[in-house]
């Protein structure tokens, strides 16, 4: 494993090569992480320190108030809206998506391939292609500027990726296992939630995480369909915050950091599921 691709790029003896590899990677990683470090440093600084020394310097004193002030200026509201939307959309979406994926993989459905292709179209449609009719539709249903409306839209747009990932995993369940349960007289619903879903639990977790992050980060639908400040979700609220308080970099940075923390935590604890989820999408 260790001799595959990376090391031979460098000449010289082994320890020199290792040192070069580490040195290069550490340098690259430092440069790569500079924007994040800048964000964190700014978030803990007071405005005067920032105006004097710029973004990339160690704060003179740690200013926790940036966070409480940002929280009270509206971030609190955006944060809870994002929590509501994400925590309803993700589980609801997964139920629909995994049921559909199950039908496409194990129910001997002769239309399966055609329906799957039809669903895949959604992966490539530019969202702009749907905005005007969706505005008319949401208007007619009185769902403009409501979190309910936004959740419904998110569920609709989530179907293609969710079905793709779940189908990838369901395909790895041996057909014999499903058939055996059929022989035993289990109904399709029972097979779905007693056999297929438990076996595909890693896929469900992966999808929850990928979908959760995507929902948490979604911008354009929120921008079009949420109008009032009290309904805004985080990404939208932050951009709004940045235009309203353009010069208050300290508070804005704190607000951005608050929005990023949940994603960072999910990323740190469930990292392997990102890889597994993407793998499922390619099966």
């Amino acid at each position: 494993m260790s001799e595959t691709v990376s090391k031979p790029v460098f000449s010289g003896n082994k320890s020199t090569r290792t040192a070069l590899l580490y040195g290069g990677l550490i340098l690259a990683a430092l440069i790569w992480f500079t924007p994040v470090v800048t964000l964190v440093l700014t978030a803990f600084k007071d405005a005067g320190d920032f105006a004097l020394n710029g973004a990339f310097s160690i704060p003179k004193s740690i200013r926790w108030e940036n966070f409480s002030e940002a929280w009270q200026t509206g971030v609190q509201n955006y944060f809870w809206n994002s929590v509501i939307v994400t925590s309803i959309k993700v589980p609801a979406g997964i139920v629909l998506e995994s049921m559909a994926a199950f039908a496409l993989t194990h129910m001997h459905f002769k239309w399966a391939d055609r329906i799957f292709t039809y669903i895949l179209i959604g992966l490539i449609v530019p969202i702009q292609m749907t905005l005007v009719p969706l505005t008319l539709l949401m208007n007619a249903l009185n769902l403009i500027d409501t979190l309910t409306g936004l959740i419904i839209l998110y569920i609709g747009f989530g179907v293609p990726f969710g079905v793709l990932v779940m189908r990838g995993f369901f395909r790895t369940i041996p057909a014999a296992l499903i058939e055996a349960a059929r022989i035993d007289g289990a109904s399709w619903f029972r097979i779905f939630y007693r056999i297929a879903l438990p076996v595909a639990l890693p896929a469900v977790v992966s999808l929850c995480i990928l979908d959760g992050v995507a929902t948490w980060n979604e911008f354009i639908l929120a921008q079009i369909f949420l109008r009032s400040d009290e309904n805004r979700t985080l990404p939208l609220g932050l951009v709004q915050f940045s235009t309203q308080f353009a010069t208050q970099y300290d508070q804005l940075a704190a607000a951005v950091l608050i929005s990023v923390v949940p994603v960072v935590l999910v990323f740190l604890f469930f990292q392997r599921y990102f890889v597994a989820g993407m793998g499922g999408a390619l099966k």
Binding site: A29, P35, E97, I119, M129, V256
Partner: protein
Amino acid sequence: MEMLTSLKSEKRVLGRAIAAKARSNSHEFLPWLFLAPAVLIYSVIVIYPMLYSAYLSLFRWDGISPTKVFVGLENYVILFTQNDVFWIALKNNAIWLVAALLLPTSIGLGLALLLNTRFRGSHIFRSIFYFPAVLSLAVVGLIWTWIYQPDLGLLNQMLVALGLKAFTRNWLSDPQIAIYPVIVAATWNAVGLPMLLYLAGLQTIPEELHEAAKVEGAGPIRRFLYVTFPLLRETTLIVLAITAINALKAYDIVYAMTNGGPANKTQLLSTWMYFLTYNYNQVGLGTAIAVVLFLLTMIFAIPYIRFMTRKT
């Protein structure tokens, strides 16, 4: 069914019999029941609006008045012949697309090659380089706006510190160059996915191939060109398709960083569609842009969809 064939022969016969029985017993109605919720909401939210947009692009309409005037392809003619910003947007999309096909892909491949070997700390490096990919593009845009800030931003400060004051700029306000800093910020976010896909692809290459090539006396560059890269062909196809599709979806980051300015010089088709539709009430022109964007996406999407459905 493919799993059954891999079992021993008697089980295979039994399996076929069972499958045949299950097939004959299963009613076409039940699969539809499982599919209905997802397919219905997806059709209403994605497919129907898509078709309706294409239809609306043939009308002159402000989005409010009860009458739409059918004008055929006039909106497209207006875009291509009279709408200067449309051409700016088209050019920016082309620049963005080229950058996206070259930068995140090659950086992702390079990092994947370096980090594919397990060494102490390799997974920490993977996390660091993947991390920007989990941030929202709005957040990425805001962070990089500070970096480009003319007086206090890191970039100009660094240039001054390095004695390169002549190169300092008001990065996002200079109409000649503003799109490029935005693309750099987008690239920072876009590297993670190709890296992840290439890492997955590299895992599938058997170690013996490298050993064999090594024994034959092939150096690292030749091994990459003649062993690794050809075997990553499938991964490369997917990476190129996904990055191209994502590049054409770009919207949030431009909105957060420049809002299309200065003087519309950083408009993309996606942002210009928004401006025309929602700020200027030109629904016909807006939907026509969306159709153009869709057709551009199809160039990359058709091979991708073919690939995704190949095994079925």
